[in-house]
Every structure is written in C-alpha cells, then in structure tokens.
C-alpha cells in the first residue's frame, strides 16, 4: 500500500519537442514519487501507431535521460510513454490511473528558493498540505501561504485559515521557520495571486473543480501558469482526498 507521507507528482513532458524539466524542479521533487509522463501529441491525420513506429526509440532515449536525472536526486520514478491526439486527455487519464496527488505544469525555473501556496476556504487543504510538506520538508526553501480576501473585514478569517494550515504543515514535519503568511485585500484575487507569485519561483495550488471525468485544470491554475514565469504544481482534488477531508 501507499505510504501516506509519500506524494506522487505527475510530470508531463512533451518528450520530442525538446521540453526540459529544470534541474531545480527535479531537485525539488527529490522526495516524491515522480510519475513521468512522456507524451507525443500528433495531429489527427496521423495514426498513433504510425507515429509510434517512427518515434518510439527516440522518445525512449529521451525518457531514459529524464529518468536518470530524477533518480540521481533520489526520487522514485514511474514512467509512461504515450502517443496521443489529445495531451490534456492523456495527462488527466494518467493522473487518475497513477493516483497522483499533484500535476506539474512546467515553466522554466532558474532557482527554486521561494514557494507560494495560494489557499482558499473550499479547497482540498488535506492534499495541499501533504504535498507542500512533502516537498518542503528536506529542502532549503521559503514557503509563503497566500490568501486573498475581498475586504478588510475578512482579514481575521483569512488569518485563521492560514494558521490552521501552518498547524497542519508543522504536524507533518515542516519547519515553521520556513513558513510565512500573507493575507491580501484585493478586488481581483487572481490578479493578486499573479502579482504575489511574481517574486516567487514555484506556485503550489489546488485544482478548482473536482475531477472525475471533467477537466483536469481549473481555469485559474492554467492562467496562473500562463502568467507566471515559474512552474506551477497543481494539487489534484481526488475523490479520495475529498473523503478524507470530509471525515476529518
């Protein structure tokens, strides 16, 4: 069975398009189980088998290099090599099948020292704290817990929310000195987050919609990934984690 502390992170890579995972990001995931998804998206007029025959060996070589890079940091690695017409569908399927806690939306990351974790009331706190603790426990990083509220009256509520998260994270073995809290009053929470993310290197955020067969990424995380320069780690909202959070 799964070790409850083990976090499983899906890392999708467009393997034949020269997409690289930054070394810093590889190091950040060194304590995780990395589900490495090498995919090659092909247009509809091409049969996946056809692309497979021509590109499989090349893709395998690229994949092996990536596996070595991750394993060198101590991460456990599982791999998938998929030829698909629809990368989003493939990423979602593997995330479900491989029971991943989070999905990496890779962006270049020159350094990874500062992580921002936006938090909302109705989001899957349990899995987020597990993922943040799993990543941050053995890394020299600063973690900002971020919460946006609409007016000053809501600030105390936000403080309480972040306090409870700090409590969860320290229980999970994260050093409290690494944590800082930021409650921001803003009319546009998304823009506030993007601004806040500007001086951070990685975003760890919850998935918006519960995904069974729906879209994997809520609009928010996609927009954050587009508008920030660093990688975004999307924490999935699985049925399992929902059940857990309900029972807690």
């Amino acid at each position: 069975m799964r070790d409850p502390d083990d976090i499983r992170v899906l890392v999708p890579v467009a393997v034949l398009e020269g997409q690289v995972i930054p070394d810093q990001m590889i190091r950040l995931l060194s304590q995780s189980t990395v589900v490495l998804l090498a995919y090659h998206e092909i247009p509809e007029q091409t049969a996946p088998e056809q692309a497979r025959e021509q590109f499989e060996s090349k893709a395998r070589i690229e994949l092996e290099d990536l596996v070595e890079a991750f394993e060198a940091t101590g991460a456990a690695v599982e791999t998938h090599l998929v030829f698909t017409h629809d990368a989003d569908q493939t990423i979602e399927r593997i995330a479900m099948d491989a029971d991943c806690d989070a999905v990496l939306l890779p962006n270049p990351a020159p350094t990874i020292d500062r992580i921002i974790v936006p938090v909302k009331e109705d989001i899957n706190i349990e899995t987020i704290s597990k993922v943040v603790a799993g990543i941050g426990r053995d890394q020299d990083v600063e973690i900002t817990l971020f919460h946006a509220v609409e007016n000053d009256d809501a600030v105390p509520g936000g403080e309480t929310l972040l306090d409870s998260l700090v409590g969860k994270l320290t229980t999970l073995g994260l050093d409290q000195k690494k944590l800082s809290r930021s409650v921001v009053v803003a009319q546009k929470p998304l823009q506030a987050l993007i601004d806040g993310a500007a001086d951070h290197d990685v975003v760890v955020m919850g998935e918006e919609e519960p995904t069974i067969r729906g879209r994997l990424f809520g609009e928010t995380s996609e927009r954050v990934a587009e508008q920030t320069v660093g990688p975004v780690l999307v924490v999935r909202r699985t049925l399992r984690s929902e059940e857990e959070s309900e029972s807690n």
Binding site: I42, P43, E44, Q45, T46, A47, P48, E49, Q50, A51, R52, E53, Q54, F55, E56, V77, E78, T79, H80, L81, V82, F83, T84, H85, D86, Q89, T90, R93, I94, M96, D97, A98
Partner: protein, 491 residues
Amino acid sequence: MTDGSNGGPTDPVGERTPDGDALVSSDPSVDVGAASDEVTVLESGTELERTIGLHGGLAIGIGTMVGAGIFVFPGLAAGEAGPAAAVSFAIGAFIALLVALPTSELATAMPKSGGAYYFISRGMGSAFGAVVGIGLWLGLVFASAFYLVGFAQYAIAVLAELGASALFADGLPLVPILGVSFGLVLTALSMFGTENATKLQNAIVSLLLGILLIFLVYGSLDTLGLFGRQTVPEEFIPYGTLNIFTTAALVFTSYLGFAQVATVAGEITKPGRNLPLAMVGSVLVVGVLYVVTILVSTGAFGSARLATFGETAIVEVARSYLGFPGAVAILIAGLFATVSSANASILSSSRALYALSRDALVPPELARINLRYGTPHLALALVGGPTVVLVATGRTEVLAEVASFLHLITYGLICVALLVIRRSDPEWYNPTFRVPGYPVVPILGAIASFGLVGFMERLSQAIGVVVALAAMAWYFIYARDISLKGVQTDA
C-alpha cells in the same frame, strides 16, 4: 517502471517482437497490444491514447457518407429508377448493414489502423491484402474525386445564385477548375496540419443533420398533403425493376463511409461498444435520410423533371418546399457535406497507404511522418495527386461506380475474411463484439457485395477490374520480394 494500464482486458498472447518481424508475420498479436477502454498498451509499455468517442465515430461515418446520397445522387438516381430509387437506397443500406456487422466484429478483434486491409491480410494472406489495400487506397481516391466534383457543382450553383454565372459563361470548364483547386487546398490542409479537424467535422455533421432534418420533416409532411400540396402523380417503378438494381449499384457510393470508422479503430474509446454502434448507427442514420430524401424529391417534381436538375437537384427541391431560404440552406449544406466527405476520404486513404507500407507492400518511405508537421505528407500527396487528376475528368457517375466497385470487392472479402478467421479460430482472435446471425449475415454480405458489382456500367467494371489486376501485378512484382527483405531492412 510500471505499466499504467487501467485494468481492462489484457492480451493473453504474447510476445512483442521487433518491428521487422511484423512485416512478414501474419499474426496480428505481434503488435495488437492490450486494448482497454481508453488506451492501447503495447508490449514495450508504450501507450497509444484512444481519443475518438462514439460521437466522433458517428461523425466520421455520417460525415463521410452524407455528402453523396443527398447532395449528389437524388437527381441522377430518380432519372434512372424513378421514385423506386428509394428502394435502391434501401438496398444499399441493407448491404451496408450486412457488411458493417462483420466489420465491427473484426475491428474489435483487430483495432488497428488500416481497417479492412488489416483484417483481410491477416485473415486471407498478403496477396488478398495487397489487392484490398491498393484497392482501398485508389477506391478512396475515386471517392474523393467524386465528392470534389459534387463540391464543384455546388460551388457553381452558389455562383449562379449570386448572379455571378455571367462572369464565367464563356465556356470555361468550371467543374474541373473548382474541383481541382479545392482538392489541392484540402490536400495541403491535411499535410500541414489541421488543428481540431475532428471538432470541426463534428460541428459540420451536426449542422448538416439539423438542416436536413428540418427540410426532410417539412418536405415529408408537405408530400403527404398536410399543407395542401399536390404531389406529382407518378408510377412508382417507371423504368423497370432491373433499374432499381443498377441504381443501387450507382448510389452505393453513398454508403462508403461506415468502414472508414474501422480505419481509426485503434483510436476509438470503448471499442467493443463504440465501434459497432458507430458503424451500424451511421449506416442507419444516412440510410433513412436517403430514402426520405428520394421520396420527398420525387414527390416535389416527378423523376423526369428532377433528373434534368442533375447533381444539385436537391437545391431545387428545397426551393420548391421552403423557397429561397431553403435553397440557400441546402446549398451551404451541400458545400459542407461534399467537403467533409472528400476530406474524410483523403485521410482514410492515407491510412490505407500507411497500413500497406507498414507491411512493406509498398515502400516504407511512403508512410514517413513529416517531423515538423507530424503528418504523413508523402502518403497524403499520393492521395491528393491522383484525386485531382480524376476530378479533372468530371465524370460523376463513373467515379462513383469505380469507387463503389473497389469498395464492394473489399466489403465482400471482409465477410469472407470473417468466415475464414472464425473457422480457423486463432488464439489471438478475441472480438468483444460478435456478429448476430452468424454465419448467415457474413455469407449474405459477401454475396450481396459481389453481386451488386454485376449491376454496374461496363466502363466502371472495366476500370475496376484493371485497378484490381494492377494491384495484383504490383504485389507479385514488388511486394513478394520486399516482404522477405523487410525483416532485415526495417528497424
């Protein structure tokens, strides 16, 4: 490393062999892989995602078929068989169903690119396979040319409607010019990548069905006299019973589409359920539409007059029921329908070439994928090139019949292949869908497919036979040799 397949039936047989061996092996298990609902997992652990759902499958089938039967044939068919052309279309649908069921079974057992070629080469050996594969490639080339000629007729009708016909009145061969240029455009589009082509196809098919439904429901009610219309009184079978069958042979081109679903069998989700539903469903949908169209059309004008309108007869029918807006809607629908049929056929044809080249029955270079665009550019060019040459002839009926000829041979052989495979019952053969009424259905399907060929015009039969003989000659001259060498050369 783990293999991420999500349960699903796993392939009991075994070993994946290097690709080279697949060239001479007639055993599909070498690379069928384990097919589950959403993915095929090959023995190497590599996964092929399934991305086409039931809607997509139906859209491929209906989108390929609907162009011809409604937007090209009503005038021609009514001219040959009178109102009984409706029976001709029904016969076509019945034969298509007899073939669709065996095709479904084979496709669920061998969900591979290439469809019919794959079943027949695995069931009956590579000589038959080569003839069918080459026949399918060229049959689809003829079909694409036929659709493009239809498209050109619609484009001209649109120009005429816009009052622009005077501009072109000085004897320019408009049909070849428009057909050829649009054929080149379609080929170029498919070579350089068409993002979201499937979504576009789905949308077009939905739009088409919407327009047709309004038109046909209104037309049917009107024909039945609900709005006080007097239908043109006419004998049901004015030109004799034989003409019903010759017309069925002519219009069978309207049903060349259900088997195209099998060419993407490897990409269909839940293949055991969706493949048969998409194939049988699309035949039923278009069959009903065709029959109603003929009844409504002949009700409006009488077949003799309808025949004088030629390929775009349905536009005049729409005008007579729904006035100018009806004519415009049907013109637009006709443009879309013929394009969607031509496009689907070009893509299927290139899949057939790929399947042939995978088995080294044609040079493997043909299936090379262009690294930049990710498309099999050579194969697409080998479809688009001959297509536009044929379009230039502008001979609707011959193009249609040759396309049907080559497909009907394939369809007959599919039924035979099912009988052969069921009798030998190889270990790898585990279809998730089984033909009801076996062995009657495939036997009837084979007899009907081969029989219908006999009702075609002499010229079409001659061209069809020449193509089949040329394919056989190609196999004996080129492919026999290569398939032996292929073991070493292909990596």
